[in-house]
Symmetry: C2
Subunit: 254 residues, 2 copies
């Protein structure tokens, strides 16, 4: 396959380098990634300033492109300007750290895959669970095996797969599980400080709330050493609430 | 009600100023908004650098806070550091220009409301359809009427309302409609130029594809001069695909 590979940790990050190296053995890989880290950028795009694409030598023969933009920018620009010919699959990652539960909303990694899905190309985001000891080789191995066995053209329109891989040696992975996106969320807090000029400033801190367990929850599967695969949709409509809201608006509207 | 008001066009934008002025007649309004325009920031948050909050005098008596961050940052910081006591509702807007179809994914305005929903507070994003002639007064009037008639505590958890108001004089609005999020999307293109140093650079351009009409589509309702109200969910799981994917992964997994 011809694969467009991006990430949000930046083109020099170990996660994307490991995945590019491994995937290149079986596929034609084009790396188009942010020149610097763009974590937690959500689905930001760059519309008010232009984008530069710098050729970067990644390996002996491999050329990639470093972009002064976000993962979504990289996918847009990669597909339209860098890729000459058809791209069969967009992969975003391997992210250093998980993208579970509401992380999906904030994640630059996932937004790279969602941008691929908007454009109508099969797309996968892949993240390694542990920020400090990511075990990228395990995640890269999963991706290669997955592409051997799973036909990515079966992914429905406007949908991407969000994959999280436990950060353990390969032989400790118990298997693959399709999971639901849990309500795992970040409980923010801010640490207030004074700058040298006497102004208050704030550092975002906080911790995760994990109160949505169950066998099919994304974070529970990963803790249990399963690769978690969650299908996510570009459109965010709350279908369950449509009818109730419609009735209520009928009652109150002008 | 005590309302936290943010936007992505920045605290000095006419849309948020108009809405703050109108809402203040019936509600207690706290404005916490980006100090500069942060359009198309998606659900970005600021985690690597600190945030400053500058007090800004908005009207005769009103004080707001300008933040060097994104709409999601403003909601987080506003709720935790600026609002002393309970906030009943988060409103993000009035955005200059629509947030219809896949715009939701890229929109800083909508992400302000989604951040409120993640935190468990009723939240609404509001956008004026036309960038050049927004008719903010029409949108502000809708919001006030809506809050008089609709009980925002009925909005389910992890859900926000995405409202788009036609940019016409108030008397030309035909009514309110609950709509589905359409597949309206941006077909990107890039214009390639050479900088004075001989390097290629790219401007993102493009146009909207509107191929998903029907009475209940968000953009169709707005074109037809109805206020469009779409419930959107923080979690993006594709429920329709879960079972099929689960079966397929069972077949192919290790």
């Amino acid at each position: 396959m011809r694969i467009l590979l991006t990430n949000d940790d930046g083109i020099m990050a170990q996660g994307i380098r490991t995945l590019a190296r491994c995937l290149s053995k079986e596929h034609n890989v084009l790396v188009v990634a942010p020149e610097v880290e763009r974590s937690a950028t959500g689905h930001a795009i760059t519309i008010r300033t232009p984008l530069w694409a710098k050729e970067v030598k990644l390996g002996e023969e491999d050329i990639g492109y470093a972009i002064n933009g976000t993962p979504a920018d990289c996918v847009k620009l990669g597909l339209l300007a860098m890729a000459e010919g058809k791209i069969d699959l967009v992969i975003s990652g391997i992210n250093r750290g998980p993208n579970l539960g509401t992380d999906v909303l904030y994640s630059g990694t996932v937004s790279g895959a969602l941008e691929g899905a908007v454009t109508g190309i099969p797309s996968v985001a892949i993240s390694a669970e542990n920020f400090n000891e990511p075990y990228f080789e395990t995640a890269a191995h999963f991706m290669i095996e997955f592409l051997r066995r799973f036909d990515v053209t079966e992914i429905p329109e406007l949908t991407a797969l969000n994959v999280n891989v436990p950060s353990v040696p390969l032989h400790e992975i118990k298997g693959w599980k399709v999971t639901r996106q849990s309500k795992r969320r970040y409980k923010s807090d801010f640490e207030r400080r004074k700058d040298p000029h006497g102004n208050d400033y704030y550092w975002m801190i906080g911790e995760y709330i994990e109160d949505d367990p169950g066998e099919d929850s994304d974070y529970a599967a990963v803790s249990d050493r399963y690769v978690s695969i969650t299908p996510i949709h570009v459109l965010m409509q709350n279908n369950d609430y449509m009818e109730k809201l419609r009735k209520k608006i009928e009652e109150v509207k002008q």
